[in-house]
Symmetry: C2
Subunit: 129 residues, 2 copies
């Protein structure tokens, strides 16, 4: 059903994207308060473009229920319906720091994997037994 090409790649990319959603949002909010919709658009900067808006809004509400961010309705009415403004809390600040630790560990794992792969490729000339 997902022989290789699309299925495989889509699966990998999508799940990867979701994993980086929280730290990306926290980082964006570290620059200052922002609307959900704005965040949604700026996620492209982190390679997370094209995510389903529902997913992003849901994660934002979850982060609020964790106390990492707080939201309030934006008073100034521009075009469109009322918008939520999210801003980082002190806890969210800490969590972002923890996330960077986690990301460093993850990068370490990746480096180890890729290192082992390339070493083995050079030794064995890419042959598998």
């Amino acid at each position: 059903m997902r022989g290789r090409g699309r299925g495989w790649r889509w699966r990998g990319c999508s799940r990867r994207a979701v994993r980086f959603l929280e730290p990306s949002l926290l980082l964006l909010l570290h620059h200052g308060p922002a609307h959900g919709y704005t965040l949604l658009e700026r996620l492209g900067e982190f390679g997370l473009g094209g995510l389903n808006p529902s997913v992003v809004y849901r994660v934002l509400r979850e982060m609020e229920s964790e106390g990492w961010v707080v939201s309030s309705w934006d008073e100034e009415r521009t075009k469109g319906p009322p918008r939520r403004v999210y801003r980082l809390t002190a806890l969210g600040d800490e969590v972002l720091a923890l996330w960077t630790q986690d990301l460093k560990e993850t990068r370490g794992l990746i480096d180890h994997l890729l290192g082992a792969y390339h070493r083995h490729m050079e030794e064995g000339k890419g042959e598998h037994h």
Copy 2:
């Protein structure tokens, strides 16, 4: 319910581990055929120790149904019940190569995120607004 400490960390680690399971197994099998149980133990080398065996066996069977590996029962009886021997297929070899590409992309995302974080920390002295 998962205020911060354990819940957060466990969640992150466990899910991360599972994400690296497939490439790790493929890489281990790239060195040569192996039993599921052996693979299970050697996963520690990639920081994936302590995974529930069921999870690993399940992924192995999934990879077989994808055609990335093939298995057969080991004839030589040692201590314990019959064991499956898994070996990589040519397709599995290709998929491993694709996985390394994916891992490199992922590392790129992480680098970008961490880079942005540290740059912003230096500029703004770690203050959030």
